[in-house]
């Protein structure tokens, strides 16, 4: 293999006699572990408390999403996409809808585009907020930051619920637009939430930003080099924390993202602290997008009238559509054979591929750090295992 982090090779003891092989402790963190975000397992080999080997083991939540989708209609897979990255169902909806729209060549009305942007950015906000909350939890803070971020998350979930009917499993977008129009007063409610959100970010910053313990735990920990990040196909905030300017919202300009003025925060060190901060800053940028979208949203239809919901049969062919989900590049690869069911339905999960670099980042660090590093990758097992 060409790319193993150079540090890694030094650290792996190739001469067992020199290290004293019995000094190594094999320990597994997970599948039942308080901070592996569900049913993930890391088989760790420790030298003292230093990680010398780490193998991620997953599949404990392999729910055969792809197989089920290949036996179901295009529409029936939409609610299943909610359950991929179950923290951000709306972005999953969007990615899937985008892929199908590419496959069938559907244009969607402008208002629907705006609604998609608003919901996706709200999803990003609540995803990042809870990720950071979980991260501090994994650092051992007994709940307060997590509770604060969930306090804000609930507000956004209320918005989702009043729009889509469900807190988490929104099942909101359709090929050709969105399922229902915004209920009365929803935009004002959203404006209020968006206006209040910076207050939460400020509070969070005061709570943690200068905290020496947090700094000590995060700075210089789990460094991911720019080269390795690109090579391993890492996407999302982790990639940008390593200094690579690659945000699909900017690159593909899918939807109507070219209409908004926002910036992409980039890290320099690629460590845990950068990943944390990139997420914090991204939330502020998302708020900017939200403000613009809420200001500019036009009225009009929300569904492309030509698109059938039931009995949807795209022409034979294939398409790969991708969006910038909160966790990275979420892509759907669909092959149609002309029947109502997709012939091949593939999810390109950002969480799974971001995990590629877990071992490289963890080698040589303390076992406590692995938990934190793992936390900053921000995986959701539903997406990793599908």
């Amino acid at each position: 293999m060409e790319m193993i982090a150079p540090a890694a090779q030094e650290l792996i003891p190739n001469n067992a006699a020199a290290t004293g092989d019995d000094a190594l402790l094999e320990i597994s963190l997970g599948p039942h572990h308080p901070s592996t975000h569900g049913v993930f397992r890391m088989d760790v080999v420790l030298d003292g408390e230093r990680v010398v080997k780490l193998k991620p083991v997953f599949g404990y939540l392999h729910r055969n999403h792809e197989k089920i989708a290949e036996g179901a209609s295009y529409l029936a897979s939409m609610p299943y996409t909610d359950r991929l990255d179950y923290i951000g169902s709306l972005t999953n909806n969007w990615a899937y809808a985008l892929a199908v729209e590419k496959l069938a060549g559907i244009q969607i009305p402008e208002r629907a585009e705006y609604i998609r942007v608003i919901t996706a950015e709200l999803t990003r906000l609540q995803n990042h907020a809870s990720t950071i909350g979980f991260l501090t939890q994994e650092m051992g803070a007994s709940g307060s930051p997590l509770m604060y971020s969930f306090r804000e998350r609930e507000k956004i979930l209320d918005l989702f619920e009043s729009l889509t009917g469900s807190r988490m499993m929104c099942n909101y977008m359709r090929f050709g637009g969105c399922r229902v129009d915004l209920p009365a007063g929803w935009l004002d409610q959203t404006r209020k939430v968006v206006a209040d959100f910076p207050g939460f970010l400020d509070e969070f910053e005061r709570l943690l930003e200068g905290n020496e313990i947090l700094l000590a735990r995060t700075q210089g920990v789990g460094v991911l080099s720019r080269e390795l990040a690109i090579q391993a196909g890492v996407t999302g905030p982790i990639l940008r924390a390593s200094g690579v300017n690659y945000d699909i919202r900017k690159v593909d300009r899918y939807g109507i993202y070219d209409r908004f003025d926002f910036r992409v925060p980039l890290g320099e060190h690629g460590d845990v602290y950068d990943r944390y901060m990139v997420r914090m800053l991204e939330m502020r940028e998302s708020l900017k997008i939200l403000e613009q979208a809420l200001r500019d949203i036009p009225s009009g239809p929300i569904m492309d009238t030509k698109t059938k919901i039931r009995g949807f049969r795209p022409k034979a062919g294939e398409a790969y559509g991708r969006i910038e989900s909160p966790k990275g590049e979420l892509g759907f690869f669909l092959i149609s054979d002309g029947s109502p069911n997709p012939y091949r339905y593939r999810v390109r999960p950002p969480s799974l591929i971001n995990l590629t670099v877990l071992e490289d980042m963890c080698l040589g660090s303390n076992v406590s750090d692995t938990i934190v590093i793992f936390g900053t990758i921000d995986i959701v097992l539903g997406e990793v295992d599908r």
């Binding site: 000094a23 597994s28 397992r41």
Partner: protein
Amino acid sequence: MNSAFTHIYGPIAILMIAAVGFAIAPLAMAWLWSKKFSPRKPGPVKNATYECGLESNDAFLRFRPEYYLYAIVFLIFDVEAIFLLPFAVAFTGLTVGASIAMLIFLLLLVEGLVWTWRKGVLIWV
């Protein structure tokens, strides 16, 4: 001789005995409860070592010498404390000279500490 001894340490002994009772009594009660009502049901899986839900492999583990180095430094400073305490008690009545003697004693140990520090012993990896 015992009267003075019991006078000083008797209450402590009683406290300790009571503490034993305090710790044992609930355990005994729990045991009784399990006898009378809720039988204990051990089993091969239940009494296996917990390992995140996986089957446990009974591995014995050893540790890095770091722990031992810290223990040495600790031991030395613990002993130092033994000498410091009488000094501290007598300090109010001591002259500068005697205090300097203690300072020298301290400095000797600090020198050891500095040495270990410089040697990188006190860097935990």
